[in-house]
Symmetry: C2
Subunit: 214 residues, 2 copies
DNA sequence: GTCTATATTCAGATAGAC
DNA sequence: GTCTATCTGAATATAGAC
């Protein structure tokens, strides 16, 4: 087992990188093999030396993307000291998830953003990988709740869906430079754990319409 | 001005319904005019009597979807009494947004789920409609913050993105019957305003790894 | 391994009969 | 208004030269 890579492997990676980036930008069906090939500096026909079909390319992109975010979250938890608070654990997972989604990793963002619009057969085959990610989040939240760090009257699976929604949707609006990932993680944890309502949030709006902002 | 509809208008609507549903399910590029026509009980060629092109059909679906959710949120606010709390206002907007997205309205869910993967030129032309929705949410949150119902140290535009993310992502996982929209709205408002952390959420996890759940 | 050339299929779109 | 038939272009995929 060596870390050395054959020339063929490097080309494969170049193609996969190009495919992930293009899939993410334009979607699966709208991406042509010509675009992928051109982004990888080759001709469309040459792709078939490395991959059997467009679907095969897609499946490998999906798998890599899922593995990367799964690994990142796993490592984020292992990196914490055993005495870390559950707030710290959640915050670390949020940060890892966002970092994979928004930095470095077209594979993960491609996976997240095109999954709903790929052929159903491929979705089915990929479900186990998605379940593994869900299971990690479920475990983090369940441990927190059992330890008393989360209210015990909330539906954790709904909380998980809403939380992952807030995270995953960021691929639709995040612009590097305009927002920082740590700031996002802070806001997520603040909302999730503390809420952003002040004590007066249930007070009657006695000024009524007069409070309207022009 | 009459509510009567010509036969042609009814057919147009039938086609638009079919298009919205199919776009939502399979994405824009992967949807063929044959599928839309077949879902509308006609032949592909006949579509061109009613619409000039596939793009034109898409643009009309997008517009209708945006209008429906915009109107629903507007009405949700107008329906409230002037003395309603800001919590009630936010809750009503969340409910309206989710209801449009998940019930009755393939147009809104199509708009939300395919927008990122349609031709860029069409995205650009549709931006004003999206901005109108953003503006409504911005106004609801800003008024709440100015009235002291929301902490004044949070970045409202980030909060808005995260909140809308949690809402919009529900098109990816919501299954009618399995979850109720009011329950979702409750959880959203609880997380957003109160947080789901208990007071012990920052306590050290003194049991360390022993707390692990099998 | 990558190229060029091409087979094949199928999409969006048009024309004219009814 | 809708049909059938068809044009045209483009996409996936293959074959064989280099």
């Amino acid at each position: 087992m060596t870390t050395e890579r054959s020339k063929s492997d490097l080309t494969r990676t170049r193609i996969l990188d190009a495919a992930a980036r293009t899939f993410r930008q334009k979607g699966y069906a709208a991406t042509t093999l010509n675009e992928i090939a051109s982004a990888a500096d080759m001709q469309a026909g040459s792709l078939y030396y490395h991959f059997g079909s467009k679907d095969e390319l897609l499946e490998e992109v999906l798998d890599i993307g899922a593995n990367k975010v799964n690994d990142a979250i796993k490592e984020s938890q292992e990196r914490l000291p055993p005495e870390a608070t559950h707030r710290e654990r959640i915050r670390a997972a949020v940060d890892a998830h966002l970092t994979m989604l928004l930095k470095h990793c077209d594979y993960t963002s491609a996976n997240i953003s095109i999954f709903a619009q790929i052929p159903e057969e491929i979705q089915q085959r990929h479900l186990p990988k998605r379940d593994a990610l869900a299971a990690q989040w479920r475990r983090i939240l369940t441990r927190a709740q059992k330890a008393g760090a989360l209210r015990d009257d909330v539906d954790l699976s709904m909380v998980r869906m809403l939380l992952l929604g807030a995270l995953n949707w960021s691929v639709e609006w995040y612009k590097p430079g305009k927002t920082s990932i740590p700031a996002m993680a802070d806001h997520i944890c603040l909302m999730l754990l503390d809420g952003i309502g002040s004590k007066s949030s249930t007070r009657r709006n006695t000024e009524g319409r007069a409070a309207e902002v022009a």
